[in-house]
């Protein structure tokens, strides 16, 4: 199935505003556009940087598969996933998704679905460097639990 899913895995920053505008403008007949943007948080003011590792080769395939599932489940126009890897500073944008649909409910649910699956099924791993120390971010049980809502 050919879906209008635009998948990008990149080290470079992206411009949320430009991406949101371009995505919305590329849609026809859609009544609703939803975007989600993930930002590197510095929970207690000690984060020096975040390192995002991924699995080149598998990453884009996994994201495309998640997007195609979303296109099967909901009545979508286009979808967009951008995910960065490499070294990121606090407040940097780490990733975004966008969905377009004729109906707001579909656009919202598809965006949430993309996020839930991306969190636990796309091969990215985050490591936080704080004051000379670095530790891998643990997966959260609730992220795995979130997938059950979709089955």
């Amino acid at each position: 199935m050919l879906t209008a899913a635009d998948i990008r895995v990149q080290e470079a920053p992206f411009d949320l505003g430009a991406e949101a505008s371009t995505f919305a403008a590329s849609q026809t007949g859609m009544g609703a556009v939803v975007t989600f943007t993930g930002i590197v948080r510095d929970l207690d003011g000690t984060l020096d940087y975040m390192q995002v590792e991924h699995y080149p080769g598998m990453t884009e395939k996994a994201l495309r598969s998640i997007a195609e599932d979303a296109h099967k489940r909901w009545d979508l126009g286009g979808s967009l996933i951008i995910h960065r890897h490499g070294r990121l500073a606090p407040d940097d944008m780490i990733m975004m998704v966008a969905t377009a649909s004729r109906h707001r409910k579909d656009a919202f649910e598809a965006a949430m679905y993309l996020m839930d699956y991306l969190k636990s099924r796309a091969p990215f791993w985050k490591k936080e460097a704080t004051g000379g120390d670095a530790s891998w971010v643990d997966a959260r049980d609730e992220d795995e639990e979130a997938l059950k809502d979709w089955s």
Binding site: G38, V52, E53, H54, Y55, G57, M58, K61, A62, H83, I94, M95, M115, L118, K119, S120, R121, A122, P123, F124, W125, K126, K127, W136, V137, D138, A139, E144
Partner: protein, 81 residues
Amino acid sequence: MDVLYFAWVRERIGLPRETVQTGAPTVADLVVELRAREARYDMAFSDLTALRVAVDQELAEWNTPLAGVREVAFFPPMTGG
């Protein structure tokens, strides 16, 4: 067969990928072989509930067969987004 390691699995084993000669019929059998090699492998695989596996770049199970497989990857649960 190429075996890849990511995140703390890569750090514990000390390398990102290696080529392994194996006749292991399943992922679980491959893990047994790897653990028998050295302490660092044994430690990295000591808690399989903390690990995930991909076979030819698709998420797989411990009992997934390895016949004809070119690439196996081990890593912790993903934390993207």
